[in-house]
């Protein structure tokens, strides 16, 4: 029983082959085997949202998936999003609006925010709060987080609305 299983997962663009115990969660695999410690574990039962990652392009809790289930999948962690500058404007807005204090919840919150910004249009504050219903933050009181996400969404919409710089024919 409990034989180790070989898995191949593409993590942040790199193919990683590893032997894992079936009971090892994707969160523990990312943190311990791959040393990608930006993914945090708080409750390990789907309640706090600190462990959110992208699995085949969708936001999921890495504490609620065993690494073996992710065999063959494409995973992107907060490190991957930061490296390819996919959340640069969110990071900037979080900094400006004081949307983090201890930072424990921040990777998960940024994942949720990334999901919110992927949708077209500027979300209302209520929609942002709704999206954050699965993220616990024990420090900020959420208000600053909502501010920051709203700010980033506005900026993105304004940038998209600006006319393209004219190029000479």
């Amino acid at each position: 029983m409990n034989e180790a299983v070989n898995i191949r997962v593409t993590v942040n663009g790199e193919v990683r082959s590893h032997s894992v115990a079936p009971r090892e969660t994707l969160a523990d695999f990312l943190r311990n085997a791959l040393e990608l410690t930006g993914t945090h574990t708080g409750c390990e039962m789907g309640a706090c949202g600190a462990c959110l990652v992208l699995l085949d392009g969708q936001i999921v809790h890495s504490c609620l998936i065993f690494a073996v289930q992710a065999d063959g999948a494409v995973v992107e962690t907060i490190e991957g999003l930061a490296q390819r500058k996919a959340i640069a404007e969110l990071q900037e807005a979080f900094h400006q609006r004081n949307a983090l204090q201890c930072g424990f919840c921040t990777p998960g919150v940024l994942m949720t925010a990334y999901g919110v910004l992927a949708r077209p249009g500027v979300p209302s504050r209520n929609e942002i709060r709704d999206a954050l219903s699965g993220n616990y933050c024990r420090c900020t009181g959420y208000e600053a987080i909502v501010d920051a996400i709203e700010t980033a969404a506005r900026r993105r919409a304004e940038a998209a609305a600006e006319p393209e710089p004219e190029t000479a024919p």
Partner: protein
């Protein structure tokens, strides 16, 4: 908060899954989206020796209309329930319930089949099986059978699915132009399990209700159909008087338990209020 050690199998057909389970005896558990099972394993409420991952069985996928039924594969994820056009058109109660089921990240993994197989009495989708008059397709060693939702919920977390059997698909009678429906729930926070929830689906001739099914969740060990309410409403015109009559008969249908947060009388009161709102919405949409 770590699961006990187990082995892992990933079958690619229903037959293979059933055989794998049979050879493991009672020591196995199926896993679909894992959004209920993984927390249960982490808390060590369950400790199977073998986890059989059914998420890669093509026969459990897909959403297709066949004559007057919509077949929804068990592996359909909550997020697909939210966006699939056939579900929105032919099984709109599922579409209405989906935003209330957990949080976005959980909806990306959790499956409709997993929710209905688990049959948490506080869950939205199981109760909608009753409201829609759905049939559940179940595969076991003796073959496949279809069980009506009315015969499916037996007791707390207990359904017509026997150990080792698989829920294959959910069959929903397609909603047509004469149907009206409404869904809502009262919860402390979006994504939390509801204090009380209700879904209803009626077939109308003008204002007259020819047929109606009203189902509640978070009211006891299983989701419940409010049959006295249905009888009171059937054949009559939907208006303030019939709504009041329906609300008065609800006490005959529900006997919710007392719990530390919500006394039974309060839950019954909230059920009446919620049902009144939903019937009111059906008047407006008529």
């Amino acid at each position: 908060m770590k699961a006990r050690a187990f082995s892992y199998a990933r079958p690619s057909t229903v037959e293979e899954a059933l055989e794998t389970f049979a050879s493991a005896g009672d020591e196995a558990s199926y896993i679909a989206g894992g959004q209920s099972l993984v927390p249960a394993l982490a808390l060590r409420l369950q400790a199977p020796q073998l986890l059989i991952d059914i998420a890669h069985i093509p026969a459990l996928r897909g959403i297709a209309r066949r004559e007057n039924w919509l077949r929804i594969g068990a592996l359909t994820r909550h997020c697909e329930v939210l966006t699939d056009p056939n579900i929105a058109r032919y099984a709109p109660l599922l579409r209405e319930a989906a935003p209330h089921v957990a949080h976005p990240a959980i909806r990306n993994r959790g499956t409709l089949g997993g929710s209905v197989a688990l049959a948490d009495p506080a869950s939205e989708f199981p109760a909608m099986m009753l409201a829609m008059g759905a049939e559940l397709e179940i595969a076991g060693p003796q073959g496949t059978r279809r069980v009506a939702a009315d015969d499916y919920f037996i007791d707390l977390f207990q359904t017509a699915i026997e150990p080792g059997e698989l829920l294959i698909a959910i069959h929903v009678p397609a909603v047509g132009p004469h149907h009206r429906w409404a869904f809502d729930e009262l919860a402390r926070r979006r994504g939390d399990y509801a204090i009380i929830g209700c879904g209803m689906l009626g077939r109308f001739a003008g204002d007259r209700i020819d047929e109606i099914r009203v189902a509640f969740f978070s009211v006891g060990n299983t989701p419940v159909r409010a049959r006295h309410v249905e009888t009171a409403l059937t054949g009559g015109r939907l208006g303030p008087d019939s709504v009041a009559e329906a609300q008065a008969s609800l006490a005959a249908d529900l006997s919710p338990p007392d719990d530390e947060h919500t006394p039974a009388a309060m839950r019954l009161h909230l059920a009446r209020v919620l049902m009144g709102r939903l019937l009111g919405r059906m008047m407006v949409t008529g």
